[in-house]
């Protein structure tokens, strides 16, 4: 029945609706460049969502854990084989996305008799010098956007726009690690809150933004955060240019995160 072009377009449209529905409960992901690297932050429950891919590449994901694992393994294999056969310098985020994973995700999305990837990812690439970082966001349909300074994953485009606007408004250029941690966590909270509100009042076409005031009161954000992170984990990872050795990725421990985050946040870290 999908041989007819119209039916195929309709099926793809249905699939888009189905996928949008799947991300409503997801936890946003924030990627933000700071003075000596890139910070990735999310709040996760159970399975981690931030991963090391290669010496200067890190992955943040949103969606079904099994699909994220498939994408993660594909990226890992691609990066390591390429790094071994050529050189680690040839393993770039752009090549991994444009010629590697994005076509695979697009194909899965359009093959309507097979399951699509329920996943959105951000691939962060640490540049050799400050200001040369790259952040690539890939949607569930294989479309990708390349940017610098900041990138986010969230349930819908309006929420993502609000989060990016908040990051751009709040972050000095470039922020310190402490500043970046606080700003990223507040941006995550803004996104999570907007997603929940959108879930409660979902009807009609998607607006351009969620109408959330971009400069939301910090105290209100922290109050929402304290409610949201109960029984969850604030997950934070860095691509740290100052780290010795070839691998620049490191997960931030809860203790270190406690020291980096603003004191008025009101969350105890072990």
């Amino acid at each position: 029945m999908y041989e007819e072009p119209y039916k195929w377009v309709e099926a793809v449209g249905n699939r888009r609706q189905y996928l949008d529905e799947q991300f409503k409960q997801g936890s946003p992901v924030v990627a933000l460049s700071y003075d000596s690297g890139i910070l990735l932050l999310t709040v996760s429950k159970g399975t981690p969502k931030l991963y090391e891919i290669y010496d200067r590449l890190a992955l943040g994901g949103m969606g079904h854990p099994a699909d994220l694992e498939k994408i993660r393994f594909s990226l890992l294999e691609m990066a390591h084989v390429e790094g071994f056969n050529r050189s680690p310098s040839d393993v770039t985020g752009g090549r991994m996305v444009k010629y590697g994973i994005a076509p695979v995700i697009k194909q899965a999305f359009e093959e309507i008799f097979k399951a699509p990837f329920i996943a959105k990812i951000v691939l962060a690439e640490l540049g050799q010098k400050a200001g040369k970082d790259s952040l690539l966001v890939i949607n569930y349909d294989g479309t990708f956007e390349e940017g610098a300074h900041c990138a986010v994953l969230a349930a819908s485009k309006p929420v993502e726009r609000d989060m990016v606007a908040y990051l751009k408004q709040q972050a000095p250029s470039p922020p310190s690690l402490e500043q970046a941690c606080g700003i990223a966590l507040r941006a995550w909270t803004l996104g999570d809150r907007a997603q929940r509100k959108a879930g409660e009042t979902m009807s009609g076409p998607s607006p351009e933004t969620t109408q959330e005031p971009a400069a939301m009161d910090t105290a209100a954000l922290y109050a929402h955060l304290r409610d949201s992170v109960a029984e969850k984990t604030i997950e934070c990872a860095l691509l740290d240019r100052s780290q010795s050795g070839s691998s620049k990725y490191r997960a931030v421990t809860p203790g270190e995160l406690g020291r980096l985050l603003p004191k008025d946040i009101g969350i105890a870290f072990p």
Binding site: E52, I53, F73, L76, H80, V81, F84, G245, S247
Partner: protein, 257 residues
């Protein structure tokens, strides 16, 4: 599901082969023109190597690094055919990283030792043909045992723990005896040495090896050329800087030569 996290297997599935098979040579001598050594000191393990690469009687290069970091907590010192040895190090480096990144945990120290053995075993045809023999010393920090350890291998891949020290290469017979003497009848065992004392011994040992083995490069002060010395402890691998080696050599080694 295959062996998860095995990068070497991934490479082999793509047609990669380490150590091309060749007809075994007859009566060939396995050339390991070099001197590498490792011994335990108070804070961990010291691994050192001379800098000379030779082809027969020809000195090809005098700035070779034969003590190669595989990851933050392990090094492989290489004696034998450099092309094969460097290739093995590249495979190991990618394998350990791939395991850590896919499995979200470090490969165990035993797993690392097995990985070296597997490569040596697969390299046997090239080693026997005389074109690819490698006799490495592997040292690293074992987090399960909370101790830095030393292992040495034969060309077939058998691993042996060097409880106090291990040596390899053409200059090694000279210093093996010295190490035994120092460790048995010295003022105290090598494992009780401070970092500086250990570095002085390593410089003296490599200078002795260079004295009797033409394939081992000694210190060349005119070119500011010193051996490579790396230190492995719980907090990772550290390279001893040349200016420190220069100071120790001039104050504690040169007057005895």
């Amino acid at each position: 599901m295959g062996m998860q996290g095995d990068f070497y297997q991934v490479l082999k599935e793509q047609g990669y082969q380490l150590g091309a098979s060749a007809v075994a040579g007859e009566g060939r001598e396995f050339m390991t023109a070099t001197t590498i050594l490792a011994f335990k000191y108070r804070d961990g393990v010291l691994v050192a190597g001379d800098r000379r690469a030779t082809a027969g009687n020809m000195v090809m290069y005098d700035r070779t690094d034969k003590v190669l970091e595989i990851d933050r907590h392990s090094v492989m010192a290489i004696a034998g055919v450099p092309a094969t040895a460097y290739e093995m190090v590249r495979v190991l480096e990618h394998s350990f990283k791939y395991y850590r990144r896919t499995q979200l945990q470090e490969l165990s120290f035993e797993g690392k030792l097995r990985a070296v053995s597997k490569l040596l075993k697969d390299n046997v045809p090239a080693a026997l043909s005389g074109t690819g023999a490698v006799v490495p010393v592997f040292a690293g920090y074992d987090f399960e045992q909370e101790a830095a350890k030393i292992y040495f291998y034969d060309i077939l891949g058998a691993e042996f723990e060097g409880v106090e020290y291990a040596v390899s290469g053409s200059g090694s017979p000279t210093i093996r005896g010295i190490l035994h003497y120092l460790n048995t009848w010295g003022e105290r065992p090598l494992s009780a040495s401070t970092e500086e004392e250990a570095a002085i011994q390593a410089l003296r040992l490599l200078t002795s090896a260079a004295e009797f083995d033409s394939a081992t490069g000694g210190v060349n002060r005119e070119s500011n050329l010193y051996p490579i010395i790396k230190l492995i402890a719980k907090d990772g691998v550290r390279v001893m800087p040349d200016d420190q080696l220069k100071r120790l050599f001039e104050s504690k080694v040169v007057r005895h030569v």
